[in-house]
Amino acid sequence: MLAFNFFGATEGGLFDINATLPLMAIQVVALTYILNSLFFKPVGNVVEKREKFVSNNIIEAKNKLSEVKKLEADLLTQLQSARTEAQRIVSEAEDESDKLYKEALELANNEANASKEKARLEIESQTSAARDQLSKQADDLSELIVNRLILEK
């Protein structure tokens, strides 16, 4: 007999333990199985699926972000190298044009000098020729004068 009473009564009482105990235990065990299949499993599936979905998305986003950062750095270095390349080309072109300018300047200078020299030489020769002619004329004139003077006498 399961029933026994702390308070002396043969029936009832606060501490009347009887077959209610094992039956309640069985009921709770059955409830555990029912709740497991009705509540814990389905809700757990949904929640864990969502948690997995969210964490996957977060991981994916992180990967994408790192990829973007890598691409950004890549682009930055590319930009940097393009910039230096452009700078190099510009300075090269500047040097080239400078050189060409100097060359042309030199050439023109030389040419000018040469023509100046030639002109000077020509002027000189013409001057001397004229002077020769002038002195010859002066000689002729003086001779003529002399002759005339001599003849008049």
Binding site: F7, G8, L14, D16, I17, V28, T32, N36, L38, F40
Partner: protein, 241 residues
């Protein structure tokens, strides 16, 4: 004898009176089963409604059930540990829900309006049979958890950290179910009695704060019961190094 009659007659409250069901040779406390069936039926209906159409974006009841599930998972995980909490989550959750629904159902529903030939309806957890059944299930569970996880090494727990602990640990195996069952039983019964006495003495207003206190106690007791059950199981499966 005197105490019993005092309790029985005090304020015309029916304490220790039961609605007996006789099935063959065994006797049952009918009021406990009646209330537990009504409350568990309501719980199951509630859960069926909430899980009928599960969606990825939770709405309405599903939200509440997911919150509940999360709460129970956190409880089980913190007490039992990451490794085996999954196996015990349904049990811990069932204990929590059963105790919670019983306590709140007992406190919120005006059972006294239903007249029984003997005894009265009330929280199933205010019956010592129910709480002892729950406590013994917890005891069986932690023994099973320890033995199934660690085999005979489970009994190392009794001499851990020193063999001096052996008698205390053995004693604990008896005090654990005892304290579990009597704590729940005492709290819920006391709450019912206090509310009952106050309602009898001052039917207006005065019992209301006590009723709120009762709801608070009821929720706390459900949490304590589930947490302790999980803690005992966690203690049994814990690895000592």
């Amino acid at each position: 004898m005197f105490f019993n009659s005092l309790l029985t007659n005090f304020a015309a409250l029916e304490v220790g009176q039961h609605l007996y069901w006789q099935i063959g040779n065994i006797r049952l406390h009918g009021q406990v089963f009646l209330t537990s069936w009504i409350l568990l039926g309501a719980l199951l209906v509630f859960i069926s409604l909430g899980t009928k159409k599960m969606e990825n974006d939770p709405k309405g009841l599903q939200n509440l059930l997911e919150f509940l599930w999360d709460y129970i998972r956190d409880l089980a995980r913190t007490q039992i540990g990451e490794k085996v909490y999954r196996d015990w989550m349904p049990f811990i959750g069932t204990l929590f829900l059963f105790v919670f629904v019983s306590n709140w159902g007992g406190a919120l529903i005006p059972w006294r309006l239903v007249k029984l030939p003997s005894g009265e309806l009330g929280a199933p957890t205010a019956d010592i049979n129910t709480t002892i059944a729950l406590a013994l299930l917890v005891s069986l569970s932690y023994f099973y958890a320890g033995l199934s996880n660690k085999g005979w090494r489970y009994f190392e727990y009794y001499v851990h950290p020193t063999p001096i602990m052996l008698p205390f640990k053995i004693l604990e195996d008896f005090t654990k179910p005892l304290s579990l069952s009597f704590r729940l039983f005492g709290n819920i019964l006391a709450d019912e009695l206090v509310v009952g006495v106050l309602v009898f003495l001052v039917p207006l207003i005065l019992p209301i704060p006590v009723m709120f206190l009762g709801l608070f106690t009821s929720a706390i007791q459900a949490l304590i019961f589930a947490t302790l059950a999980a803690y005992y199981i966690g203690e049994a499966v814990e690895e000592h190094h």
